[in-house]
Amino acid sequence: MGTVWVHAEAADGKVASITLELLAEARQLGDAEAVYAGPGVDDIADELGAHGATKVHATGSIGTGLQGPALASAMADAIAGGASPDAILFGTTQDGRDVAARLSVKLDAPVITNIVELVDDGGLVGTEPVFGGTTNVKTRFTGGSPAIFLIRPKSFTAEEVGGGPASVVPLPLPDLGGAGAAKVQNRFAAESEGPRLDEAAVVVSGGRGLGEAEKYHMIEELAAKLGGAAGATRAIVDAGWVPYALQVGQTGKVVKPDVYIACGISGATQHMVGMKGSKNIIAINKDPEAPIFSIADLGVVGDVHKVIPALLEALGSR
C-alpha cells in the first residue's frame, strides 16, 4: 500500500486521540500523511510527526466555516490534481463524518462506515460489528482508490514513534459556493473535572435505573472516589439529566477503561458497542435478565439506591 491519508482533528494545539489512533494504523498500512483544515498547523506538526505522519496537507484557517464542505473540496481538488492516496481514514466524529460524506459524493466513491479493524489483503478489508457486536461483517471496495473508511474511536492504539515534525504541505482551499454558507458563530465547551471520559482508567456510568436526575450525583461521587470519570446512557442524556458529553455508546464516546461500572443500565446494543472493550465490567441492575449481565465480569443483582451508597460508605472509610 502506498500513501494513506488521515483526517487530522485538533483543538487548542493538541491533536485529538482519534487522529493519533488512525495514524498508528495508517503507518502500519503504508506512508501515513495527515490532512488538516483549520488554524495553527505549525502547533500540531510535531505531534503528528511523532506519531508517524511524514507530511500534513493543510488548508490553513477556514474562518467560521464548517470542515465538511471546505476540507472535502480541498481534498477532492488535490486528488483531481494528481494526489493519489490509496486510502483515506476518518474518525467517526461529527466533522469526520461530514468531510467523508461530502468527499464521497465529490469522488463518486463509497465510504465504508463503523469500521473497527482493517486488514490489507490485496486491498483493504474493513470489519464492521453488527447486531450489537455479535457478528462481524467484512467489506472491501471493488472500485478504484481511494478507499474511504470511517473508523470508530478506540479501534487502534495510538503510538509515538519519534519521527520529526510532519512537513507542512499547503492544500489550496477552493471557492465553496453556496455549500459553504454555514457559519460557526460561537463555541461552547462544557466544564469538566477529573480525567477525560475516553481516557480514564475507571468509568462509572449511570442509566435510567437511577430513577431521577438528582440521583446521578452518586455516580459522580463514585467516579471521583475511584479517580475515574462519570458516563451515562443515551436514555438519561435525552431526558436532560446530564450533558451529551457524558454519553457512552454508538452515538457517544467509546471507552475502554480498566474498569467500567454500569449502574442501572440495561445493556442495549448501542450502549454496549461503546463499552464492551473495557478490561473489566461490573454491573449493578435489579433485573437478573438485564443484557448487561451477559458481558459483566461481576454482576450484582440489586438496587442501585442500596448498593451504591453502601459502596460509597465502604470506600469513604479507606
Binding site: V105, P110, V130, D238, F293, L298, G302
Partner: protein, 257 residues
C-alpha cells in the same frame, strides 16, 4: 415554508432480522416501521412549519412499503414521496443519497431535515451526502433549531459541548435524538393519514440509471460474515445487603483501590 423530511422505514428493532448468507442482504420479512430516529425530524418539521406551510416526507424503501410513512403522516405530515425499485436492493449510503436527493429536488423545499443516523444502518453520512449532491449548505448534529428570516440558527452538538451555527435557507439539517418530544398520532390523525397522498416513484422517474445504485453502484462487496468472539459472562451475585463488599474486593483484586 416547505420542509422535506427524510424518513427511513426499518424492520422493527425488536425483531431485527438476519443476514442471508446467500445474498448477503438483510432478510426483512415483517412490516417496516418508522425509524424512531426519524420521528424527531418529523416532529421538528411540524413545529417549525406550525400549520403555516407544508411537510413532505421522503423515503426510499423496498416493496412499496408505506407502513412507516403512515405513522409519520398520522403525526401530521402532509404528503409523502416513496421511492421503491428492485434495482435499489443493496444500495449503500451514496446510492441511497442519490435517490433521496433526486426525489427532494422535485419538491424544491426551503429546508431538508434528516436524522443524524438511522437505527439500522447508522452510517451517519446520508444527510451530508444529500446536501453535497444538491449543492446545499448543511449543519449536522442539530440539537436545537430556530428559523428567523431566511436563516436557521442551530445548536450543533460537538465532542466538547455545542457550537452555535447559522445557515441560510435552503439547507440540510440532521437532528439528534431527543431534540424534541415526538407526538403520538391521535386517532383523528391516524384516520386522516389513510387518505393523504403518497407519490410512488421508481428510479426511472428520477432519471437514475440502475448501475449507479443498488449492489451494482455500491462499489463494495461483503467478503465475510463471521460470529464475533463473545465476551463471557462472569460471576453474578444477588445483593443481600453485603454485595458492596464483593465489589470492593473485586476492585482490590484489580488494584484500582
Amino acid at each position: 415554508m416547505k420542509v422535506a423530511v427524510c424518513v427511513k422505514q426499518i424492520p422493527d428493532p425488536a425483531d431485527p432480522g438476519k443476514i442471508d448468507p446467500e445474498t448477503k442482504t438483510l432478510v426483512r420479512d415483517t412490516k417496516l416501521i418508522l425509524d424512531e430516529s426519524d420521528s424527531y425530524g418529523v416532529e421538528m418539521a411540524l413545529q417549525l412549519v406550525d400549520g403555516d406551510g407544508e411537510v413532505v416526507l421522503v423515503s426510499m424503501a423496498p416493496n412499496e412499503e408505506v407502513n412507516g410513512l403512515r405513522t409519520a403522516l398520522a403525526m401530521g405530515a402532509d404528503s409523502a414521496i416513496l421511492v421503491s425499485d428492485d434495482a435499489l436492493a443493496g444500495s449503500d449510503a451514496l446510492g441511497t443519497s442519490k435517490v433521496l436527493a433526486a426525489a427532494i429536488q422535485r419538491i424544491e423545499p426551503d429546508l431538508v431535515l434528516a436524522g443524524t443516523e438511522s437505527s439500522d444502518g447508522y452510517t451517519g453520512t446520508v444527510p451530508e451526502m444529500i446536501a453535497e449532491l444538491m449543492g446545499l449548505p448543511s449543519v449536522t448534529f442539530a440539537k436545537e433549531i430556530a428559523i428567523s428570516g431566511g436563516e436557521v440558527e442551530v445548536k450543533r452538538q460537538t465532542e466538547a459541548g455545542y457550537d452555535e451555527v447559522t445557515c441560510p435557507l435552503p439547507c440540510v439539517l440532521s437532528v439528534t435524538a431527543g431534540v424534541v418530544e415526538p407526538r403520538y398520532p391521535s386517532f383523528k390523525g391516524i384516520m386522516a393519514a389513510k387518505s393523504k397522498p403518497v407519490e410512488k416513484l421508481g428510479i426511472a422517474d428520477l432519471g437514475i440509471a440502475a448501475d449507479t445504485v443498488g449492489w451494482a453502484g455500491a462499489g463494495q462487496e461483503i467478503v465475510a460474515i463471521e460470529p464475533a468472539p463473545a465476551r463471557e459472562a462472569g460471576e453474578v451475585i444477588e445483593d443481600d445487603g453485603e454485595a458492596y463488599q464483593r465489589i470492593v474486593s473485586f476492585l482490590e483484586e484489580l488494584k484500582v483501590i
